[in-house]
């Protein structure tokens, strides 16, 4: 999959949330989603899924504050990452799993779609 499709546009909000960099890979039997979550501890990560979305909320261990930042020219503080992704196809919510290591969250989302073997006559 091309990188352009793998990265979700990162941005920020006045609500104190940053959108994390993330990558979605459509594998054969599953959708693999990773998030880059610096300054986040495992216990502060919350993941919610529906059949076709995954949402991550992650509180930073300490807030970051930028003074007179960019175009807004005032102090802005971010405390958390938040991002919802619409998945390319339905997933089996009961079989999802996640790991978190060195600030990278990896979520494995098995697809509902089942393979059917076709015999050749």
């Amino acid at each position: 999959m091309e990188m352009e499709r793998r990265i979700i546009r990162a941005t920020w909000g006045y609500d104190g949330n940053l959108e994390p960099l993330c990558e979605v890979e459509d594998k054969e039997d599953e959708i693999l989603v990773t998030f880059d979550l610096p300054r986040v501890r495992k216990e502060n990560v919350e993941i919610n899924t529906t059949e076709d979305t995954v949402e991550v909320m992650a509180k930073m261990s300490d807030a970051i504050c930028w003074e007179r930042w960019g175009s807004i020219q005032k102090k802005i503080t971010f405390q958390a990452f938040r991002k919802q992704i619409r998945l390319p196809e339905p997933i089996d919510q009961e079989k999802t799993s996640a790991t978190f290591k060195n600030g990278i969250l990896r979520i494995n989302l098995p697809k509902v779609r089942k393979k059917v073997f076709i015999p050749i006559e």
């Binding site: 352009e4 610096p38 290591k101």
Partner: protein, 250 residues
């Protein structure tokens, strides 16, 4: 500014003594950008010039209220560091590599070292990224073997550093690329640290990467938007070719 031309603007009176050039332009994992910025900071190199072109985005940077060019050249008599705070547009890759190679030739560079990354699918499970190297001619490959660098033997390389190797080859300039295993679309200070440690084999700068690792999370946060811009231009750079298997006929 001449249309479609890359211009290297150097401050007057800079003396070069057969320098080693370190290039750190935005690419996968921002490995080169992070490494080059850290080297400049730790060595206290002064800004000695900048690169301008109408092929680059019409962007300037403001640091502490001061207007700065985003594509800068730092260094001293023996070392030149080239780095950019903005992504390189794909249509600028060929003319940029040519213009820089001409300039490196003009300052009689001893060796051109491009620092970049090599996307690793299992990067999350790698504690210390390995560094691989590519040389552009026999002499460069001999140097890499002497320094016991792990050589990349087969495969495709794509992007600015690939063209840099070629343009230096055309001008009989020795050039190498150092590629650290990295996250493709996340800023990777750990990979940058590995390249700085490898760089020590070529240039005794004595840089401790401890602070780079301590500040890794802060760097990742600050580098998010440059990473996003860089990743968006990756398809046009044919970066996916680096994952392709080359045809084997030998």
């Amino acid at each position: 500014m001449e249309e479609g031309v890359i211009t290297i603007v150097e401050e007057e009176g800079i003396l070069h003594k057969h320098p080693i050039v370190i290039e750190g332009l935005p690419d996968v994992g921002l490995v080169g950008t992070i490494a080059a910025s850290y080297i400049v900071e730790k060595m206290g190199y002064k800004e000695i010039g900048y690169v301008e072109s109408d092929l680059f985005p019409p962007v300037m940077v403001i640091h502490e209220g001061k207007l700065e060019n985003p594509f800068k050249i730092y260094g001293d008599e023996g070392v030149v560091v080239v780095l950019s705070e903005v992504a390189i547009p794909p249509n600028a890759v060929y003319p940029l590599a040519g213009a820089l190679a001409d300039w490196f030739n003009g300052i009689d560079a001893k060796l051109v070292i491009s620092i970049t990354g090599l996307p690793a699918e299992n990067r999350m499970d790698i504690e210390k990224p390995e560094v691989f190297a590519v040389g552009n001619n026999e002499e460069a490959r001999r140097v890499l073997k002497d320094k016991q660098m792990e050589l990349m033997e087969e495969g495709f390389i794509a992007g600015h550093y690939a063209m840099m190797l070629r343009e230096c080859y055309k001008r009989n300039l020795n050039a190498i690329s150092l590629l650290a295993q990295c996250f493709p679309v996340y800023p990777d200070p750990g990979a940058a640290a590995s390249t700085i440690e490898s760089l020590e084999k070529f240039l005794k700068l004595g840089i401790d990467v401890g602070e780079l690792m301590e500040k890794a999370e802060e760097i990742k946060l600050k580098a998010r938007d440059l990473m996003r811009q860089t990743a968006l231009s990756a398809p046009e750079m044919q970066k996916s070719a680096e994952q392709d298997l080359p045809i084997m006929y030998r």
